[in-house]
């Protein structure tokens, strides 16, 4: 979505139309590319930011002019940039200024919780064996701790307990009802404070 701005600055002259894109979200280490357009190609284009070192750090953004008043802004944020920022683009035509703000949210990375264990889809509970323990382990790149919860159709004969910040154990002892059902799904959900969550379905098959 483009936002076209025509703002007047200090002087009496009206600023020239400057079009900037809407808010963006970018991951650390990934390049953000924005295109801005100024109505008069003769205008000088520049940018500001609340990040005070943005123009002096080694890996600083570039603003490359193209024909027709367009310019391409390219920036690869670093880990220290995580958070909400504003990139302000400025068009200057003989002292008449237009400004356009682009809110940019820098996030640490792709936020996907992944179950690492168990790797398989299920296990069998042999005849004569009543109980089994199944360990669950997740990776969460953006959190040091997750909350494990029981998923859908959780069997009354199973208990879920966290044993570490990223791992849990399910202790299951088959009941008569479980043996009648034959297949007992254990659906474990892992979620973190950011709201990210994922589930793992593991079945215990009773002989």
């Amino acid at each position: 979505m483009w936002v076209v701005l025509a703002l007047s600055a200090c002087g009496p002259r009206t600023g020239i139309p400057l079009a900037v894109p809407g808010a963006r979200t970018v991951e650390v280490g990934h390049e953000l590319q924005l295109t801005v357009r100024v109505a008069d190609p003769a205008a000088k284009l520049s940018f500001d930011s609340d990040l005070t070192d943005l123009t002096t750090r080694p890996l600083r953004p570039t603003l490359t002019p193209f024909a027709g008043g367009e310019a391409s802004f390219r920036w690869t944020p670093l880990g220290e940039d995580v958070g909400d920022h504003v990139i302000t683009f400025i068009a200057d035509l003989d002292g008449a200024f237009s400004r356009g703000n682009v809110p940019v949210t820098v996030v640490a990375g792709e936020h996907v919780i992944v179950f690492r264990e168990p790797a398989g889809d299920g296990s069998t509970l042999a005849t004569g064996v009543d109980c089994v323990d199944v360990g669950f382990l997740v990776d969460d790149p953006a959190a040091v701790e997750v909350t494990f919860t029981e998923g859908a159709d959780w069997p009354a004969s199973a208990t879920l307990a966290s044993v570490g910040p990223l791992d849990a154990n399910v202790h299951f002892c088959a009941s008569a009802a479980d043996r009648a059902a034959g297949i007992v799904p254990l659906v474990v959900q892992a979620s973190d404070d950011s709201g990210a969550s994922t589930t793992k379905r593991y079945v215990v098959v009773l002989n």
Binding site: W2, H30, F47, A67, G83, A181
Partner: protein, 654 residues
């Protein structure tokens, strides 16, 4: 807190005037083309499939389909209409025959002919870009009658499909779907008869989707376990085919007699015949189930297991598989199931010889198929490592001037990594593995997101002595590592190698050690100091030419300079991959607390960064770096390989 700071610094990048020579902004649509519009027969609600190339992500532009020509219903009139198109991938878009288009046409039956074109509203330059036009022809009908010419399905397994051939079938989605009504009786094997007293009456209506997407000449009626149950037997009855239009109106296609014998499940083979912890074994056969929560296909292994170096033992294991489809089941070698509890998959290898029997379970109901003779080798634990190249890596290649030779650089990285770990059971891949459920990943990117100018960083938590984690990810962020006070962003940071230059690009910080040799090699290639490798030059870069490159090449020997630059960059990146993967495997000093080999000895891969000069990394008169003796013995211990270690002189680790 930086967002609260108010000091704004403006930089002026565009001066007044002299702009007439500026190039236009590239919207990335230079290869836009449309090659086909289909299917040729459409109904209200149909989905048009647009095939072409150069389609771009919706964030970069909005796609539309323009149809110009004539629409002939009772009369013929001009047609010029634009409809929204949805991005699928770089070669496919879809568009809907929706009420807007139908309203424009003013009729639901007729023929559209003319020229079709893809239009893109670019978010990059704000302009509209169009593909070349191609001729198209679409017949629009308001209703479609299915015509059945044959029904095939006299002997089937569960989750096989009765194949119905003919014409006029619906494709599903907005236009409606072709459906089947099965009516009759199912008599399970062993129940005697007749079906009217011993069998189960069947009346089931199910969708019959196209066997091949977009094909109106064949649909399949999938025999899921919910229809007959899981016991083998015989269905006798009829099959009625009808089209259920989007309007809800059914259109009858006639009824056929159907007698289907449902067979026991069977396993034809297990593949691969040797597998290790975390690897996927695919059972191929027929009659597998597991599509819903109360179903599972078990694989019962009965026979003997002969561990290497130990006596054989009888085996009777039942393994739980994951459902792929009726003919494929997926089993992952796991430490916590019946196999993993019986065999230490990290330390025991051997061979199972016996039979595999498919066992279907639907709730408490169980049906077994025939046993099939198989062998399955339990292979030594293997670490698979997928190299994942992010888009910023291409930007880095551009800075080096080797973007066109990216494939050759990647190949050299793989060659170096495989060489460094020769004799260790580790497998570097250029693509995401599909044969392993558990594998590690290394991100190869452009800049160091930590802002520290690192060449590479293993951001996996702690020191994984013994390589308990086969699933490490060196890349992205790791909050657990950050909590320990370390940099959180991992990967191989290609940009930073430009810091070896005495005059790095403006965006790259110089490293502590500069190399004139680096500049001799890369100055002729870098875009800011020389001429980047051309596409033609890149086509001449065979792996053998790169591996055998003489470095540095003499001045004026352009082909030699190109080969040398690719080889050296591959060496730099490849040896950094092996170093960081070494960390994730528990190196260095696996029995101690150190992360690097102590001191500074020549050609040791796990020495600290400042003890690994450019010439050693680049293999120019020094190197290649190798694992020192104790580190290598440790690697052979945790990732054993049957083959003998290579004949390499290794330095000591102390």
């Amino acid at each position: 807190m930086k967002s609260l700071q108010v000091l704004l610094v403006a930089i002026i990048l565009v001066g007044c005037g002299a702009k007439s020579g500026l190039p236009p902004l590239d919207p990335g649509l230079g290869h836009l083309a449309l090659t086909s519009v289909g299917p040729p027969l459409i109904l209200p609600g149909s989905q048009l499939v647009l095939v072409g190339q150069g389609f771009i992500d919706p964030s970069l532009g909005k796609a539309r389909l323009r149809l110009q020509g004539t629409f002939t219903a009772t009369t013929s009139r001009d047609l010029d209409v634009v409809v929204a198109a949805r991005y699928v991938d770089a070669t496919h878009l879809t568009a809907q025959v929706d009420s807007g288009l139908l309203g424009f046409l003013g009729a639901s039956d007729g023929m559209l002919r003319g020229d079709a074109q893809i239009l893109y509203d670019s978010a990059i330059d704000g302009q509209i870009h169009g593909s070349a036009t191609i001729p198209f022809s679409l017949q629009l009908v308001s209703s479609l009658t299915p015509v059945v010419t044959s029904v095939a399905g006299s002997t089937l397994h569960l989750n096989d499909a009765v194949l119905v051939s003919g014409s006029g079938f619906l494709l599903g989605g907005g236009e409606g779907s072709t459906r089947a009504l099965l009516t009759g009786c199912f008599l399970a094997d062993g129940n005697g008869g007749p079906c009217s007293t011993k069998g189960s009456p069947i009346t089931v209506e199910i969708e019959a989707p196209p066997v091949t997407a977009g094909d109106r000449t064949q649909v399949g009626v999938l025999l899921a376990p919910d229809i007959f149950g899981i016991h083998p037997g015989v269905f006798s009855g009829s099959l009625k085919i009808f089209n259920q239009l989007a309007s809800g109106q059914p259109v009858d296609g006639g009824t056929r007699t159907l007698v289907t014998t449902l067979q026991l499940p069977e396993v034809v083979k297990l593949a691969p015949s040797a597998a290790s912890l975390g690897q996927i074994v695919i059972a191929t056969g027929a009659g597998f189930i597991g599509g819903v929560s109360d179903e599972v296909t078990l694989l019962r292994l009965q026979g003997t297991f002969a561990p290497d170096g130990a006596p054989s033992a009888a085996v009777d294991l039942t393994l739980v598989s994951g459902f792929v489809d009726g003919t494929h089941a997926r089993y992952v070698l796991d430490e916590v199931d019946a196999l993993g509890r019986g065999v230490d998959l990290r330390h025991v290898t051997g061979k199972f010889t016996g039979t595999v029997t498919p066992v279907l379970r639907k709730g408490a109901v169980q049906v077994s198929g025939p046993a099939t003779a198989v062998t399955l080798q339990i292979a030594p634990v293997r670490q698979v490592v997928a190299l994942h190249y992010l888009p910023s890596f291409d930007e880095s290649l551009r800075r080096f001037g080797v973007l066109t030779a990216g494939a050759a650089v990647r190949q050299r990285i793989l060659t170096v990594a495989a060489r460094d770990y020769d004799g260790v059971n580790i497998d570097f891949r250029a693509d995401t593995p599909t044969d392993f459920a558990v594998y590690a990943q290394v991100d190869v990117v452009g800049p160091d997101p930590n802002g520290l100018g690192l060449l590479g960083y293993d951001n996996t938590p702690g020191k994984d002595v013994g390589n308990q984690r086969l699933f490490d990810r060196i890349g992205g962020v790791n909050a657990t590592t950050q909590e320990d006070g370390f940099s959180g962003y991992g990967g191989i940071f290609a940009d930073q190698f430009l810091g070896f230059s005495a005059h790095p690009p403006t965006q790259i910080a110089a490293l502590g050690q500069q190399s004139t040799t680096f500049d001799v090699i890369f100055d002729p290639i870098r875009p800011d100091t020389g001429l980047p490798i051309t596409a033609l030059e890149a086509t001449q870069l065979t792996a053998a030419a790169v591996d055998g490159a003489v470095c540095p090449a003499e001045t004026g020997n352009r082909p030699g300079q190109v080969r040398c630059a690719v080889r050296v960059l591959g060496n730099l990146l490849g040896s950094t991959v092996t170093h960081e993967v070494g960390h994730s495997l528990g190196l260095a000093d696996p029995t101690g607390m150190l992360f690097h080999n102590p001191g500074d000895e020549p050609n040791r891969l796990m020495d600290a960064g400042d003890a690994r000069p450019f010439e050693e990394r680049a293999e120019l008169g020094e190197g290649p770096g190798v694992f020192c003796t104790d580190d290598y013995d440790y690697l052979r211990g945790i990732l054993p390989k049957i083959s003998a270690p290579p004949s390499v002189t290794r330095p000591g680790c102390d």
